[in-house]
Symmetry: C2
Amino acid sequence: MTDFDTDTAPDASGAFRLTDRWNALAGINGGYMLAVCVRALGRAMPFPDPLVISGFFLRPGTVGPAEVPVSVLRAGRTTAFGEATLVQGGKQVLRITGAFSTLSGDGPSYSGSKPPSLPPPEECVAPTLRARSPELSISEQVEYRAVTLPGWVTGSPSGNPASEFWIRLGGGREPDLWSLPFLVDAAPPAAMELGVLSTTIELTVHLRAHPAPGWLACRAVTSHLSGGYYEEDFEIWDSSGALVAQSRQLGLVLK
Amino acid sequence: MTDFDTDTAPDASGAFRLTDRWNALAGINGGYMLAVCVRALGRAMPFPDPLVISGFFLRPGTVGPAEVPVSVLRAGRTTAFGEATLVQGGKQVLRITGAFSTLSGDGPSYSGSKPPSLPPPEECVAPTLRARSPELSISEQVEYRAVTLPGWVTGSPSGNPASEFWIRLGGGREPDLWSLPFLVDAAPPAAMELGVLSTTIELTVHLRAHPAPGWLACRAVTSHLSGGYYEEDFEIWDSSGALVAQSRQLGLVLK
């Protein structure tokens, strides 16, 4: 059992707990809490695969006990819908709704874009985020490889909120449909290249295929920042060159 | 009062009803039902503007009575969250969650893309969809203008699921934050250029600014179709050149 598997599941007594191993710049990482909810919801659904999940971040999470009540909204013939809520101290922290089904590769296919073009991970650099920001425990859980360090890491935001990089869970933990909702939110926001700090209001993730083992190639882009909000689109491509997850989140710029 | 305003609000006694004026190729249009729910939720929220809405389409809607119970999940200092459910015959049809706030133009801004480059609407063609498909009552409610007719309209899907066009509500009804969640779903899917018919599983819309009066320029793109699902990204730009709404939906290909 890796930290990811342990920290996103209830303990033997059925109790949930958010741990201190997933802290990002603005507190507990949203993708980690999302993964807790998706796994909890998955255990209640009559189909094996999450297809699309939308999560609204109502409050910051805190390290400590949590409850995750789930309910099935509809179980159809090929698709089922449900919701889960992460509750701490009697207050709602995260509310997710999701559709589940059985993912297959059947039917027509079309792709209008390509995976990121990156040199192999072993030829890339690994940003040493935690040495710069000791609170970033999440950087011990996820490995990143990029061609160059992000501008904001060295104090010089590039002004271009777009990046491509490799990512994988630590400890040799291979990707699956349960870790992808975490991984789409596991990298620092592309908008940091615009010099802003932010928090997530809402994140929707589409799970498009079961990922093959190995490193995942990511593409993060923010196209519009205005009125204190921006969107971030995130794609994850697996080692076979298949698109396995797409997400979009609405971020709120912190003053 | 235009048809849109009448058909998305309760009557004087507080009762909701889905009318037959919003039928698309696969039944009652999802964006219409979404607009009903967003308006209902808006009346309960302590902030004036919808910011991000996610809707899950659990069942097809039917023409006739509906109930739309709403609840506030959290009312914070600057953002409030709530949910609404469209119920018909005791069954859930559409479940939405939304965040509301007060949209302003304050703070830093960045734009990495431009509005569609289209000739003026009066130099474009108007597809006569209803003459081809009499069930398409929605085409009486929305005006479209494009440089060329979509390929699927003339029986020759182009294979390129991307398009740019003008759109506006009929009857001189100017756009606002309440009609945009409808309009992002009011055009035939871009994926029809791949020769597929589809229905929406989930749609998320970000409202980015109050739209200026006039025609709206739209961009619809599907980048990935596989395993029976595709995403569609939709942008709406107003007459001042501002991005006012972005949406992404997960579509299910109908067999």
